[in-house]
Symmetry: C2
Subunit: 493 residues, 2 copies
């Protein structure tokens, strides 16, 4: 069944009726059409997309979300759920038709329960990541996922996009943290699977479907999340290596030696380090000589294992030298230096942006193949698009790098991205697909990559995705235009 055309969805009189009922349901704190209040949420944070909405709904409870969704179903009003609005792919921005209601989960920001013994937290969708970090820390625990936008990203958004970050190497992405889930489905029914059962084989694991579905199958309203013992100490190493192809051997060595203590393994090319050093006042190169590539390794331990950490870091450093796996390396002498090492990593994106326009790609291939992928494809891109430069950096330990292609000198920002930039992205996506990789490792699909997924996705998998979407949201009211590619006949799934 094709989606109902917009015009049919919400003719003027039913729209008025809907708005009155929604306003009555949610009250003044939960419903507004005031442009000043709605406007800030209609543009994604990268500023790529701006949409319109008939209203901004901010329900205060799961029951209110359910009632609102039922009301939307009754009136055929599309729903765009939104958390912290810090997504990378426009997944939380409505389209320009103005027919959808923007459903903010930000008011649902209670940590319903935090059980230090069971190491679990039940969070509502609007809990901000940083808030959860602080609540866990107060119990000498931690939530093992973090990322740049932690001050605005919400639990609901992180689940809906299966967010990654810098700790996936050891702890997995958001999917691995979710023990239970509560969501409102397209018909307004409440899917309640919050109770965390370590073993449960009562059929299809439906919560897995909701994780990473970007609000297209249901609206996550709460989740039970796992917590871990707080970290007591960390050791941050910085190494220089001669070629990116040396990185996988160093990674394997670090895994063998440090095992569960290995928390991070990030790579960056000389170009990125130089860009950061030029961009960040007071920053300095941890090593004296120049190296083609740099690796940041983080080891971490909780209280029970903290004593062994300095020795482990030293052993890793020395054995890596002895085995010829690094050209040079050093260990951060203290926490301030550790922060300084990480700052070099975290500032790559802004530093590269300051240099001029670039096309950014969030891609993955099998972990073991990533170095070879970079070595093989960078020349292909640079040959095909003369004057460009490939800069790949990030989570090598996850088989996931940020693959930036910098514009030729003199390229005009805005114009270049729209023309050569788009061709470059297609070319990069073709390459990564040829290597059996993913065109979206951690940022999701949203509106940004929906057409690319339709072009490059496996037809069988796309067919199943559309069938599942159709089964759970037959009228296509949940976050329309996001993630699920159009059918081959152009119909909205």
């Amino acid at each position: 069944m094709a989606a109902i055309p917009l015009a049919e969805r919400c003719p003027m009189d039913t729209q008025t009726d809907f708005l009155e009922r929604a306003a009555a349901l949610l009250g003044p704190r939960g419903f507004t059409r005031d442009p000043e209040l709605v406007q800030p949420w209609l543009t994604d944070w990268r500023g790529r997309y701006t949409g319109r909405a008939i209203a901004l709904a901010s329900p205060g409870s799961t029951a209110e979300v359910a009632q609102l969704v039922r009301l939307c179903a009754e009136h055929g009003v599309p729903i765009v759920p939104q958390g912290g609005n810090s997504g990378m792919c426009g997944g939380a921005t409505p389209d320009e038709s103005g027919s959808a209601i923007l459903l903010s989960l930000r008011r649902m920001n209670a940590i319903r329960r935090l059980d230090p013994l069971a190491r679990e937290a039940v969070c509502e969708a609007g809990v901000i990541l940083q808030t959860l970090h602080e609540a866990a820390a107060a119990e000498v625990l931690r939530f093992p996922l973090t990322l740049g936008g932690k001050g605005s990203a919400t639990i609901g958004g992180l689940i809906s996009t299966n967010a990654g970050g810098t700790q996936v190497l050891r702890h997995g992405s958001m999917r691995a943290q979710v023990l239970g889930i509560e969501a409102v489905l397209a018909d307004g029914s409440v899917f309640d699977a919050l109770t965390p059962l370590k073993k449960d084989n009562r059929g299809f694991d439906l919560k897995q479907l909701l994780i990473g579905s970007e609000g297209t199958l249901g609206i996550v309203t709460a989740a039970t999340l796992r917590l871990l013992p707080a970290l007591a100490d960390r050791a941050v190493l910085w190494a220089g290596i001669g070629a990116v192809s040396d990185a996988p051997r160093l990674l394997a060595h670090a895994e063998r030696l440090a095992g569960e203590a290995l928390e991070g393994f990030e790579i960056m090319p000389r170009h990125s380090l130089e860009a950061v050093l030029a961009h960040v006042p007071g920053s300095r190169n941890p090593l004296q000589d120049e190296h083609a590539w740099h690796v940041l390794i983080e080891l971490a331990a909780d209280r029970a294992h903290a004593d062994a950490l300095p020795g482990l870091a030293q052993e890793l450093l020395e054995s890596a030298f002895a085995a010829g796996l690094v050209e040079d390396a050093t260990i951060a002498a203290n926490e301030a230096q550790a922060e300084a090492f990480w700052l070099l990593r975290d500032e790559i994106a802004p530093a590269e942006r300051a240099l001029g326009p670039a096309m950014q790609h969030d891609i993955s291939v099998p972990v073991a193949a990533m170095a070879a992928f970079i070595e093989a494809t960078a020349p292909q891109v640079e040959t095909r698009f003369p004057g460009t430069k490939v800069v790949a950096f990030g989570h090598l330990g996850d088989g996931n790098v940020h693959y930036h292609v910098l514009a030729p000198e003199g390229a005009i920002r805005g114009e270049w991205e729209e023309n050569e930039g788009k061709q470059i992205s297609r070319f990069v996506h073709d390459l990564v697909t040829g290597w059996q990789g993913s065109i979206s490792a951690e940022h999701g699909i949203g509106q940004l990559k929906r057409d690319e997924l339709g072009r490059l996705g496996d037809p069988v998998q796309l067919h199943v995705m559309r069938a599942v979407k159709q089964a759970l949201d037959p009228r296509g009211l949940l976050n329309p235009g996001k993630l699920v590619p159009l059918a081959p006949d152009g119909a909205n799934p």
Copy 2:
């Protein structure tokens, strides 16, 4: 859409046509109707169900499976996939109509690739668990899932039932081992997601749907599985405690102290130990005095961590004593004794069976609640059904015990199970549902628990399950009558 009635599915002339074409497709090694060859696979291994089949198909490749499924779709022939036929719930046994084809995956038993560096194995569905263990061991690796039926259970069956076992505490169930999957869908298309990507956010994680779906959504033909460094050493502890409610504190203590080294935490009541001691010649109680409950704790380490293991075990033992967490405890002095300790655990089920009839329940509740659940519900069961005795043992660390209810003395085997036994199971399932637990922790649903799932499952979740089943297998040809409960109107989903 309701499923097509059996009579319409396969009238006699199309049946003949189907059988001829299937025989031609698969050849004599892959297709038989010889009762002597088919018969052994028509009864589940517990002997609870016996069905009929029009033929036994044993394709040798994914392409053959796909062609066969297309042929079945064309002729409306239901398909019952089967691995080692060692499931506990009749999930691989056809019904008595004889309309289905039994599709054995046992001939597809190649390990297509085993990559020691990436620590991955690509196994076809018919690879026997024991075979994978041996192949991994040859590379000083291990596959971290094992269970009693490892000599016959296949990878495809383990994935389709999301099998558990004794190592879930640390390593998770089968779902956690699967990095990639290949399956044939209801229309004969091949779902190929074998490439392991540590990060991949291209929409719904469809492989999760196939894991644990018991062949009702697709037929798993191969999988990429993760491997771990081989274990170099283990330490097995045996402790006596005064009450089951002491077990969670001991578990928390062991987790805090041993962290990642904690591989097993199994409980058993005195009754079970005595039954084993009486049943197994030469077995002996590891402790001198009597204790109400016993705990088996296994710590394990790979080469990098083996040196610390004996000290860790000793520290755990001593600190547990000092904290008053155990009445008595001992460490297996050598591997033979460790084996002997585990034998006591592994022989509980046969030993209890020898005592007389019993109803067995594979249930879970949140880990932290399991001891309280046993303490609260055992008296309820024993009061409601006088003369019965509750014996709960097993994976406390997973919140999953085997909850056996022994028949009153003099109960007649066969008769008792069918009458009082069935009432008891309903009662136990009601109790566990009231505690927000699962009526199937690790064995699945199959035909055994389908009606109970329909009776007790959350209506919203059942609705979604049926919708997904309908979307992926609209004609209901994949393993009909298994797992997915009938719709409220009695229609087969």
